[in-house]
């Protein structure tokens, strides 16, 4: 197991390097630079700035420097947030985004699996139809519609919850963003669980369990649930990706101080180091989720052997 994890982590490094390399050169091909502003700065000021940040050196030299800094845990200075390094921006914003995302994923998992199992067991009844119908709505309505709509309803009409603004001590500020973030993956997980649960309940081993005269509770919880969760486990990585995408929007709309806004802002502002930092954070997260998924599937199904 330890050996497996070690090999997998080692194997992820080249992938990460490739991502960094591609992103580094991609963003550099974009027209414009970090010091373009509505009112153009004098040419000598720009030249000075470029020199100060090392942007006047050959691209490959900058690339080498960047990798060297990276190897020492330094994401470099932000070009736009003048007094901050990218590392500082991430260190401040990441906990907010991660908390938001983790709560959303946890809720999506718990809620989705619960709803999916119930729908599968009551297949064809109203609760099943409601689940299937509502899940389509939850998947189809984009977060940037949902959050303003929820804000309109609970914030502006009912005055129950704050629409925007941020008070890290208040749990109420989390409610609408978390609900918005967790609904689409929750709906997906509910559908996946329902489909696989229906399949498993038809399987020969569940029939054996029934023939043994076991109570429904035992059959569902001990015999059926674990195999039914395998597709859900594989979906975790896409779910995290989905939540990341959602967080770009949700954090912007709700005005949360997470890192979601940095990627798009950074790309538009040509804040090269900030964009790269974001790409690295998100890629690392996704790649580790892939590893988590593989381990989880091996835990759920003893027939699966982890082979590096």
């Amino acid at each position: 197991m330890i050996r497996y994890l070690f090999v997998r982590v080692l194997g992820a490094l080249p992938t990460l390097l490739a991502i960094v390399t591609i992103s580094f050169f991609l963003i550099r091909f974009a027209p414009g630079g970090p010091f373009d502003q509505a009112r153009a700065l004098p040419a000598d000021v720009v030249a000075n700035l470029n020199a100060a940040y090392g942007l006047d050196r050959p691209l490959w030299a900058q690339y080498a420097t960047y990798l060297d800094d990276l190897a020492h845990g330094d994401f470099g200075p932000s070009f736009r947030y003048k007094d901050f390094s990218v590392t500082e921006l991430i260190r401040e914003g990441f906990p907010v985004s991660a908390t938001l995302g983790a709560i959303a994923i946890a809720l999506a998992l718990a809620g989705g699996v619960g709803v999916g199992v119930v729908a599968a067991l009551y297949r064809g009844r109203w609760i099943d139809h409601a689940t299937v119908g509502l899940s389509v709505v939850a998947i189809a309505v984009p977060s940037f519609v949902l959050l303003p709509a929820l804000g309109l309803l609970f914030g502006i009409e009912l005055h129950w919850l704050p629409v925007a603004g941020w008070d890290p001590t208040s749990i109420r500020d989390y409610v609408l963003p978390v609900v918005t973030l967790c609904l689409p993956p929750l709906a997906y997980i509910a559908r996946l669980t329902r489909a696989s649960m229906i399949e498993v309940m038809r399987s020969a081993y569940v029939r054996t369990a029934f023939a043994k005269g076991l109570p429904m509770r035992t059959i569902v919880l001990r015999h059926a649930l674990r195999p039914a969760l395998i597709p859900v486990a594989s979906y975790l990585a896409p779910a995290v990706a989905m939540t990341m995408t959602g967080s770009l929007v949700v954090e912007t709309i709700a005005g949360l101080p997470g890192i979601g806004r940095y990627l798009v802002q950074g790309a538009l502002n040509r804040d090269y180091t900030l964009v790269l930092g974001m790409v690295i954070v998100y890629s690392t997260l996704l790649i580790s989720m892939g590893l988590v998924v593989d381990v989880l599937i091996a835990v759920l199904d003893p027939r699966v052997r982890l082979q590096a």
């Binding site: 519609v145 309109l152 996946l192 489909a195």
Partner: protein, 292 residues
């Protein structure tokens, strides 16, 4: 061999007939299909039904609420532009992006998946490794980077979005191609001397149509959603053009003063997406294809 192939074709024909019958029996599918056809017709014809132009500014009607008694049925935005025309044109653009990008991902995915699945062995192994690595990446962020790098060309948007959609498609097609490769009519065709390319396109590709259609029906709404997402972030369609995403983005900022600016395009987008999803689900049930 011909008899076998004919039989396979006949079976496929029967499958489609059955599927169509089952679709007709599903009220949800009928409703979704009607809603879609109506929206498509409106998106194509609607803008001509109203005298306003999408970028014309009506100084007499700034931020006018919807109503049938004046010229702006669905109201105007604070710049006095007609929302009926803008929303329908936005729908047209969103639909076009969704369909074209799906087409791109279909073509790439089918060819890639069919080749990998049919070739098998080390070629398949290598091709699947590539997919595995690609799907582990935050591709959405690459699309964001791409749109920044190459400016805001709509065609590029199609291509970029389509380029991330093909991974799942390729996986589905590969699985099907591998299963079909072992079936007797393909073996019979190979025994009769048909070359691999011919077998691939005459026998394998037609047989993966079912799952592919289902997946495509579910991909279109995802891409529409993604396009609107990019537009919302200011990376997609640019003013004075509008897509549903840009309309919703501007609506969200006027939520308190002009809620219809948010509600109307949101409702259209939601109906569009839900219809596609319902139709895709119904197709999946009708064709008896599992969750991808």
């Amino acid at each position: 061999m011909n008899a076998l192939a004919d039989e396979a074709a006949a079976r496929a024909g029967g499958l489609w007939r059955d599927a169509l019958q089952r679709l007709r029996g599903s009220r949800a599918a009928i409703g979704a299909a009607s809603a879609l056809l109506l929206l498509i017709a409106l998106a194509i014809l609607g803008p001509y039904l109203n005298p306003n132009r999408y970028d014309a500014i009506d100084w007499s009607c700034l931020a006018m609420p919807p109503g049938l008694l004046h010229a702006h049925w669905w109201g105007t935005d604070p710049l006095g532009r007609d929302l009926f025309v803008r929303t329908l044109l936005g729908t047209r653009i969103s639909l076009a992006v969704g369909l074209l990008a799906t087409l791109v991902s279909l073509v790439v995915g089918i060819v890639y998946g069919a080749v990998a699945g049919y070739a098998g062995g080390s070629v398949d192994h290598l091709m699947m490794r590539v997919i595995e690595i690609l799907s582990g990446l935050p591709l959405i962020f690459f699309v964001i980077l791409l749109t920044v790098v190459f400016g805001r060309s709509e065609y590029l948007l199609f291509a970029a979005i389509g380029a991330i959609g093909w991974l799942t498609m390729a996986r589905i097609v590969r699985g099907q191609a591998m299963a079909i490769r072992e079936r007797e009519f393909v073996e019979a065709a190979a025994a009769a001397g048909a070359g691999p390319v011919r077998i691939l396109f005459r026998h394998v590709v037609p047989n993966v149509i079912g799952p592919v259609v289902v997946y495509a029906a579910l991909t279109v709404p995802q891409i529409i959603l993604f396009e609107s997402f990019l537009s919302f972030l200011g990376l997609g369609i640019q003013e004075p053009q509008a897509s549903l995403g840009t309309l919703i983005a501007s609506g969200a900022t006027e939520m308190e003063s002009a809620p219809w600016m948010l509600l109307i395009p949101s409702a259209v987008l939601a109906i569009l997406l839900i219809s596609f999803h319902v139709l895709g689900d119904a197709l999946r049930d009708a064709l008896d294809v599992g969750e991808p």
